[in-house]
C-alpha cells in the first residue's frame, strides 16, 4: 500500500513538474514574443519620428500602449525596469525578488545574447505566478523586461490530485486492513479455540473438549488433546473419588468410634461422680462399659486388618480345596450347633493358589454374616464346585435377605443393613469390606444375590491352579 501510494505521489509530482516546465516554456515564448513585439513597435516608432534614437520617455510612451493591451489579458502582467532596478513601468504591483533582477541585470551588461530568460515562481495575493525576466536592449539602453503568468490552476489541480490520492490510499488501506483482519481471524479460529480450551483445561475445568474443525494437522492435534483431556479427567475423577471415599471412611470411622466411647465415658463418669450407686446400677453400667469397650476392640482389630491387608507379606500357597473346607467345617460346626442351625458342606476337589489364613477369614466372615441373618432352625450351606476354569464357593442362607439398594452398599466400610441388630451381634460393619479387599488381592470375584425374607447367596469365584501331574 505504502509503495503504491508513494509511486502515485511520485508520478503526480513528475506530472506536475512537466506541466510547470511546459508553462514555463509557454511563458518564455510569450515573453519572447512580447520582447520582439516591443522591438518592432520601437523600430516603427523610430521610423515614424525620424529620429536616430528614441529617448526613454518616448520608449515608455510606445510601450505604454502595449502594456495597456496586455492588461486585457489577465494572465500576463508586464513590468519594465531599467538597469538600476528602478521601476519604469508596472501595471500590477508585484514586489519582485531583487535577486532575479540582479541576475538579469548583471548578465545584461556583459552579454549580447538576447535569449537569456530568468524564471521565478512567486506567490502573489494568494495566487501562484510564474515570473519571467529578461534583459533587453532598446535604443542602446538596457532594460529588464518582466512578464508574469498566473499558474495557480496547475498548483490547484496538483494539490487536488494529491488530496484525492491520499484519500484513495487511506480508504484502500482501511479496506485492505479489514479484509486481512477478517481473513486472519477466520484462519486462526481453530487455533484460538484450541488455545481457549487448553487453558480452560489447564485451570481445572477437565470436562472441556476441543471442537474439531478440520482434517489437517490442527484437527489431529485437537483430537490428541481431547484424548489427553479424557485421560486427565479420568485420573482426576479417580483421585476425587479416592479422596471422597477416604473422607466418608474417616467420617464413618469417627462415628463408629464415638458411639461406644460416648457410652463408656458417660457411664464411667456416672459411676465416678454419683453417690450411693446401687448394686444393680453398678453391674448394669459396668456391663455396658465392658460391651462397648469390646466393640471398640473389635473395631480396632478389624480396622488394622483392613489397613494392613495390602501391606503385609502375603503367604500364597497351593491349597487343596477339600482340606480348606474341612478346616472351616471344624471351626463352624460348634457355632452352628449353638445357634441351632443345620449346616451342610459339600466340595469338589481341586487346587487354588491362596493365602490360606486370609482366604479362610473370608469364608468364616461370610458364614458369620449368614448366621447373623438367620433365625434359629434355619439352614446354611457351604458349597464348593468346579465350573470351567473357576472354583466357586457359595454361602447360602435362608435368612432375612436384603434389598437391591443394600446389596450395592454392603461392601462399603461401616455399612450395616440393620444397625441395631448388627450391633447387638457385635458387628462393626467392616466384615464384607474386609472380604472384598481380600478377594480382590486374590484376583477373585465376589457376587451377592439376595431376596428379602428369602435369604442371601454369596459367591466367591477364584481361578483353579492347573496341576501338572
Amino acid at each position: 500500500m505504502l509503495a503504491v501510494s508513494t509511486i502515485g505521489i511520485l508520478l503526480l509530482k513528475n506530472d506536475f513538474n512537466t506541466s510547470i516546465d511546459m508553462q514555463t516554456e509557454n511563458a518564455i515564448s510569450e515573453h519572447s514574443y512580447m520582447v520582439s513585439n516591443i522591438s518592432n513597435k520601437i523600430i516603427t516608432a523610430r521610423l515614424q519620428s525620424n529620429s536616430i534614437l528614441l529617448t526613454t520617455s518616448q520608449i515608455l510612451n510606445v510601450l505604454g500602449d502595449i502594456f495597456e493591451d496586455s492588461k486585457i489579458n489577465p494572465t500576463t502582467i508586464v513590468a519594465l525596469f531599467n538597469k538600476n532596478n528602478r521601476v519604469l513601468y508596472n501595471n500590477v504591483p508585484i514586489s519582485l525578488d531583487t535577486s532575479i533582477l540582479n541576475s538579469a541585470g548583471s548578465s545584461n551588461t556583459s552579454s549580447t545574447d538576447s535569449n537569456l530568460y530568468y524564471t521565478q515562481i512567486l506567490k502573489v495575493n494568494g495566487r501562484m505566478r510564474l515570473i519571467v525576466a529578461s534583459p533587453i536592449v532598446l535604443e542602446k539602453q538596457n532594460f529588464i523586461f518582466v512578464t508574469s503568468t498566473d499558474i495557480s490552476n496547475i498548483y490547484a489541480s496538483y494539490s487536488n490530485q494529491i488530496r484525492y490520492t491520499k484519500y484513495m490510499c487511506i480508504t484502500l488501506s482501511l479496506v485492505c486492513a479489514i479484509i486481512l483482519l477478517t481473513l486472519s481471524k477466520l484462519l486462526l479460529r481453530p487455533l484460538v479455540n484450541l488455545n481457549r480450551t487448553t487453558s480452560a483445561i489447564a485451570t481445572g475445568d477437565y470436562s472441556q473438549r476441543i471442537t474439531i474443525y478440520s482434517d489437517d494437522e490442527l484437527g489431529e492435534l485437537s483430537y490428541n488433546m481431547n484424548i489427553m483431556a479424557n485421560a486427565v479427567e479420568k485420573n482426576v475423577n479417580q483421585l476425587k473419588e479416592v479422596a471422597e471415599n477416604r473422607k466418608t471412611f474417616i467420617n464413618n470411622l469417627s462415628h463408629e468410634m464415638k458411639t461406644p466411647l460416648t457410652s463408656i465415658l458417660g457411664f464411667a463418669d456416672i459411676m465416678r461422680i454419683k453417690r450411693n450407686l446401687s448394686d444393680e446400677e453398678l453391674s448394669d453400667y459396668s456391663n455396658i462399659i465392658f460391651d462397648e469397650a469390646t466393640r471398640l476392640k473389635n473395631l480396632s482389630g478389624k480396622l488394622m486388618e483392613l489397613i494392613t491387608i495390602g501391606e503385609t507379606n502375603l503367604d500364597f500357597s497351593e491349597t487343596e480345596t477339600t482340606e480348606l473346607f474341612s478346616q472351616i467345617e471344624l471351626v463352624m460346626k460348634p457355632i452352628m450347633i449353638t445357634n441351632n442351625i443345620s449346616f451342610t458342606v459339600s466340595c469338589d476337589s481341586c487346587f487354588i493358589y491362596i493365602d490360606l489364613e486370609l482366604f479362610k477369614s473370608v469364608i468364616l466372615n461370610l458364614l458369620d454374616n449368614a448366621i447373623k441373618a438367620s433365625e434359629n432352625d434355619s439352614t446354611i450351606s457351604l458349597i464348593g464346585k468346579i465350573e470351567n476354569d473357576d472354583f466357586k464357593i457359595q454361602v447360602i442362607d435362608k435368612g432375612i435377605g436384603m434389598s437391591e439398594d443394600d446389596i450395592s452398599k454392603v461392601t462399603e466400610p461401616f455399612y450395616m443393613v440393620d444397625k441395631a441388630r448388627s450391633r447387638k451381634a457385635g458387628g462393626v460393619g467392616l466384615g464384607l469390606a474386609l472380604c472384598s479387599s481380600i478377594v480382590e488381592i486374590h484376583n477373585a470375584k465376589l457376587d451377592i444375590s439376595s431376596r428379602l425374607q428369602h435369604g442371601t447367596n454369596v459367591t466367591v469365584s477364584i481361578q483353579i491352579q492347573k496341576k501338572e501331574q
Partner: protein, 218 residues
C-alpha cells in the same frame, strides 16, 4: 417435674443419657427413631428434647424442621462439623453437644436451656437454707445470708446437682466460664467461704482426686 424426651438410636447411649438426666432430677422418655421422636415431640408433653442427628427413618435435622411446637431442643451428636452445628442452630436448636461429653456438662447445658425457657425451679431449699433465684436472695433460718454473686451461683449449682461429685474444672467452666484448669485455688476459696457462711462443713464435702459434692439430706 420436668420431663425430657431423649431421641437416640444407640440403646446404650440412650440409657446413659437417661441415667444422667435422672441424676439431675428430671423425668425422661426414650425414642429410638426420628418418626416416633417427632410424634412425641409434637405431643407437647415434654419440656426439653435431647435429639441425636443420625437417626433411622428420619434424621434429627428433619425432625426439628417438622416440629409443630416450640419445645426447646438440644442436639446431641457425634458429628463435629462446624457446618452441622450451624445448620442445627439455624433450624432453631437451643444448643449443640458433641459426643462424647461429660455428665455434668450435659446437666449444666440442660439447666441453662430450662432457665432460658423459665421452666426451672425458682425456689430452692436445702436443709434450713432457702434460695430465691429471681430475687437473688439466700436465707438461712429466716435470716438473710450475704453471699457474693459467685458464691450464690456456686450454692445454686450444688443444690441443683446434689449427690454428684463435681470437679474444680467443671465448676470453673460452669460458674466462672473459664475453660482451663490452674485457677482451681479460686474454687477452693469460694467453697471455704460457702461452708463457713452457710455452715455446710459436713454437707459440702471434698472428694479426693475429684472435687466437691453436696450430699443429699436423706
Amino acid at each position: 417435674m420436668i420431663k425430657i424426651l431423649i431421641v437416640e438410636d444407640d440403646e446404650n447411649i440412650a440409657k446413659m443419657i437417661r441415667a444422667t438426666v435422672t441424676m439431675g432430677g428430671y423425668d425422661s422418655y426414650i425414642c429410638s427413631d426420628g418418626i416416633t421422636g417427632l410424634k412425641h415431640m409434637n405431643s407437647g408433653d415434654y419440656d426439653l428434647v435431647l435429639l441425636d442427628i443420625m437417626l433411622p427413618e428420619m434424621d434429627g435435622f428433619e425432625v426439628i424442621s417438622k416440629r409443630t411446637n416450640d419445645t426447646p431442643v438440644i442436639f446431641i451428636t457425634a458429628k463435629q462439623d462446624v457446618l452441622d452445628k450451624v445448620s442445627g442452630l439455624k433450624l432453631g436448636a437451643e444448643d449443640y453437644i458433641v459426643k462424647p461429653f461429660e455428665t455434668v456438662e450435659l446437666l449444666a447445658r440442660i439447666e441453662v436451656v430450662l432457665r432460658r425457657y423459665n421452666k426451672n425451679e425458682h425456689i430452692l431449699t436445702y436443709k434450713d437454707i432457702t434460695i430465691n433465684i429471681d430475687e437473688h436472695t439466700c436465707r438461712q433460718n429466716h435470716t438473710d445470708v450475704n453471699l457474693t454473686p459467685k458464691e450464690f451461683d456456686l450454692i445454686v449449682f450444688f443444690i441443683q446437682h446434689q449427690d454428684v461429685a463435681i470437679s474444680r474444672s467443671q465448676l470453673l467452666s460452669a460458674i466462672w466460664c473459664y475453660y482451663f484448669e490452674g485457677e482451681s485455688r479460686t474454687v477452693d476459696i469460694h467453697i471455704q467461704q460457702l461452708r463457713k457462711k452457710l455452715s455446710l462443713k459436713n454437707n459440702l464435702i471434698t472428694i479426693p482426686k475429684l472435687g466437691y459434692r453436696l450430699n443429699k439430706i436423706s
